[in-house]
């Protein structure tokens, strides 16, 4: 019984992450950096959405891809810093990220391609 990880009595892994006052200071500094970064990116996105017209086909594709890249940057910081995945065990990190990213890219590719074909067929 005492070797089971799902019992609350075995909380040695949970206590491992406790840290000192000085380490806490460094972590909080990083948190404020990420906060400012996320706020700035969101502001830039909204400004782009308001100022640039999506009816102008000459640059809208570029704007669209900028939105997607900025969103991925935001997601990276939320997952790696806020959710602390960047500081977890390497195996756990890969186990979570690699299958998800693989599946989602595959799904996006298949279904968006299909969407354009279906749209072309209808119209």
């Amino acid at each position: 019984m005492e070797n089971r990880d799902d019992l609350i009595v075995n909380d040695s892994y949970a206590s491992m992450v406790n840290h000192s006052e000085e380490e806490g200071k460094a972590i909080r500094k990083k948190v404020w950096f990420v906060t400012i970064l996320l706020s700035v990116i969101t502001t830039v996105e909204v400004a782009m959405g308001i100022i640039l017209s999506n009816k102008d086909a000459s640059y809208w594709d570029f704007v669209k891809w900028s939105f997607i890249i900025l969103t991925v940057v935001k997601a990276f910081y939320i997952v790696m810093e806020f959710m602390h995945l960047g500081h977890e065990n390497k195996t756990l990190r890969r186990l979570i990220i690699i299958p998800y990213v693989f599946f989602i890219i595959y799904m996006i590719f298949l279904i968006i391609m299909e969407g354009f074909k279906v749209g072309a067929g209808y119209n």
């Binding site: 005492e2 070797n3 089971r4 990880d5 799902d6 609350i8 075995n10 909380d11 040695s12 892994y13 949970a14 206590s15 491992m16 992450v17 406790n18 840290h19 006052e21 806490g24 909080r28 948190v31 906060t35 996320l38 706020s39 969101t42 502001t43 996105e45 909204v46 959405g49 308001i50 999506n54 669209k64 939105f67 997607i68 900025l70 969103t71 935001k74 997601a75 939320i78 997952v79 810093e81 806020f82 959710m83 602390h84 977890e88 065990n89 195996t91 756990l92 979570i96 299958p99 998800y100 599946f103 989602i104 799904m107 996006i108 279904i111 968006i112 969407g115 354009f116 279906v118 749209g119």
Partner: protein, 233 residues
């Protein structure tokens, strides 16, 4: 218990009793749950992408979401941006609660987790206002049900009013996310009460705050994608 803290020795690793990821069972399972939930939301957003790619016309977000409470000014996307900002800030207060927990600072956890609950509640109220405004439709009158935006009526797509996908995706995507926020607020509130009672202080660690924190950050993460793919792209 001490043997769990040390490095995994390959000679004894097969004897059991160690986590291959050096995390507790609860935290690992929270991550597995979040991966499956992320696939659900991924499915929703990819379906939205299919609808947008195959539709011959799709309403422009700046022309739908330009309202702001207590003003008639034309402020495209500003309210949604404010909602995004509120959720990011509540995510930040959650990180600070987790960090305070790692220093066994009960008062700190209580303060930051309390603000997280407040932030989540403000987001939910904002979303209620957003839904009310969206349902009222372009004429802005909620009581005239026939020309409101519903699952069976899409007043925003003027070129092709029979295409109901715009309103349907709005209600399903933001509704599913909003229900996650609601769940998160309830769970955060329960954990807040436990923190106040000193349950985790007595236990010697605040991992429960960390676990609900993961869920709360995930809700923020999903909103980042909803914001981009529903409102921006």
């Amino acid at each position: 218990m001490a043997e769990h803290v040390g490095n995994v020795d390959t000679a004894t690793a097969w004897g059991g009793g160690v986590s291959p990821f050096r995390v507790t069972y609860g935290k690992m399972m929270m991550w597995f749950f979040l991966v499956s939930d992320a696939l659900t939301f991924g499915g929703f957003l990819v379906a939205l992408g299919f609808a947008k790619a195959s539709a011959d016309s799709w309403p422009v977000a700046e022309e739908v979401f330009f309202h702001f409470p207590m003003t008639h000014a034309n402020l495209p996307l500003i309210y949604v941006a404010l909602m995004t900002f509120i959720l990011i800030v509540s995510s930040v207060t959650m990180v600070l609660a987790v960090e305070a927990g790692h220093r066994m600072d009960q008062k700190g956890v209580q303060k930051w987790l309390g603000w997280t609950v407040v932030g989540g509640a403000i987001f939910l109220l904002s979303q209620a206002w957003e839904w009310g405004t969206f349902i009222a439709g372009p004429d802005g009158i909620l009581s005239t049900w026939a020309d409101n935006a519903t699952l069976t009526n899409n007043p925003y797509n003027i070129a092709n009013p029979d295409d109901l996908r715009y309103t349907n995706f709005f209600f399903f995507v933001t509704g599913f996310h909003g229900f996650h926020v609601f769940t998160g607020v309830v769970i955060n509130l329960l954990v807040f009460l436990q923190v106040r009672k000193g349950v985790y202080q007595a236990r010697g660690h605040y991992e429960m705050v960390e676990k609900v924190g993961l869920y709360w950050h995930f809700v923020d993460l999903v909103w980042v994608f909803v914001f981009t793919f529903f409102y921006l792209v």
